[in-house]
């Protein structure tokens, strides 16, 4: 499939009926989604025949694109049941088999904001290197909904983290690292690049900035004064092949 065909297919993916400010819902624009997926597929082989998870999938444009490029299995996670309804309808429209799980990505991966990891669990996490057995809990001792390292590739267009949920972009990224065996693909404000590289290293992964994009976030919310906000965004890939399993 050519890039322009993928982009035009993704233009037919239905977007949020009424975006929710609190969840920072804005659709991944078809040209951004297409460019991201095409690069993953053509330059890195991270889609074809792979098990792909989509964190904060929204209306599932990234999952559908991945399925169109030949992923073997897709699962999308989102907290918003309205978005998941649209996502399921979109998947059916495109005849893609995509499973959807209604959950809070942050909580489901044991990354709740205020949880301080008990010391003995931190130590246990450091001393284990058995990646084959399922971990019942995350490194901070909170139970996990999804078994770690159960997917090949994780894709996401995470919330950028506004005043009310600062840092949520990093939490999503961390959740991706817990789930992916091979790679996590994500979009982040270019201004956070250094911080992400540092965190990525802490998680045992290597960050690569694959492309620099410009995001045209349309003024869909009332508090936006301008018609749209142009933001510099990095398309990044975290290599997870050497990351510990938890």
């Amino acid at each position: 499939m050519k890039l322009k065909h993928l982009e035009s297919a993704l233009q037919d993916v239905e977007a949020f009926a009424s975006p929710k400010v609190k969840l920072e819902q804005y659709p991944t624009q078809p040209h951004v989604a297409a460019q991201m997926l095409y690069t993953m597929h053509n330059s890195f082989g991270d889609i074809e025949g792979k098990a792909v998870g989509d964190l904060g999938c929204g209306c599932a444009v990234l999952s559908i694109g991945a399925a169109l490029l030949g992923s073997a299995y897709n699962v999308g996670f989102d907290i918003d049941t309205d978005a998941l309804k649209i996502a399921a309808a979109n998947a059916a429209e495109f005849e893609c088999d995509i499973d959807f799980v209604h959950c809070d990505v942050v909580e489901a991966l044991g990354l709740a904001a205020n949880a301080q990891p008990p010391l003995h669990i931190q130590m246990a996490a450091l001393s284990t290197n058995d990646s084959s057995s399922p971990a019942a809990s995350s490194s901070n001792g909170l139970p996990l909904l999804v078994r770690p390292k159960s997917l090949d590739t994780v894709i996401m267009n995470p919330p950028f983290g506004t005043k009310n949920n600062a840092g949520i972009d990093m939490t999503f990224l961390h959740a991706g690292v817990l789930l992916a065996r091979t790679a996590v693909w994500s979009l982040h404000k270019t201004s956070t690049r250094k911080h992400i590289a540092k965190k990525a290293a802490e998680w045992g992964t290597t960050m690569e900035v694959v492309a620099e994009l410009r995001f045209d976030i349309p003024a869909m919310y009332k508090f936006h004064k301008e018609k749209s906000v142009d933001v510099a965004v990095d398309l990044i890939r975290l290599d997870c092949t050497r990351a510990p399993s938890r």
Partner: protein, 123 residues
């Protein structure tokens, strides 16, 4: 929700971390939907799935009786791979609930979507 997805999920209620897997399926509607057979992918996924959980779930749902122990190599195991494909990729839990064996928490599945969201005091 396909059984592959079911195989990845465990109960995450606060304090429930020992006997929290696999979630018992109490389905009111399970459908079979044909999917492309990809033997390489099935072989690849066998490294990630929990075999015993898959086997007991498939048996409980009456979908298939999978062998207790997998052959060391899947080479030439076309029939077995097809059977695993049917279980993992073609069996959809459409409606029902997933029940934690440890704490008995019930997660609802509606129109194929699992609601794994916990309310505040369960987190």
């Amino acid at each position: 929700m396909r059984l592959l997805t079911h195989n990845l999920l465990q109960c995450h209620v606060k304090g429930c971390s020992t006997n929290n897997y696999p979630l018992r399926v109490e389905a009111t509607n399970v459908v079979h939907k044909e999917a492309d057979f990809n033997p390489e992918f099935i072989t690849h996924m066998l490294q990630k799935i929990e075999w015993n959980a898959l086997r007991t779930t498939a048996s409980a749902l009456g979908v298939a009786e999978l062998p207790e122990i997998l052959p060391l190599s899947m080479e030439g195991q076309e029939e077995l791979l097809k059977q695993i494909h049917l279980v993992l990729m073609e069996t959809h839990i459409m409606d029902g609930k997933l029940v934690c064996p440890g704490c008995s928490h019930e997660y609802l599945v509606t129109h194929g979507v699992g609601n794994m969201l916990l309310i505040e005091d369960e987190v």
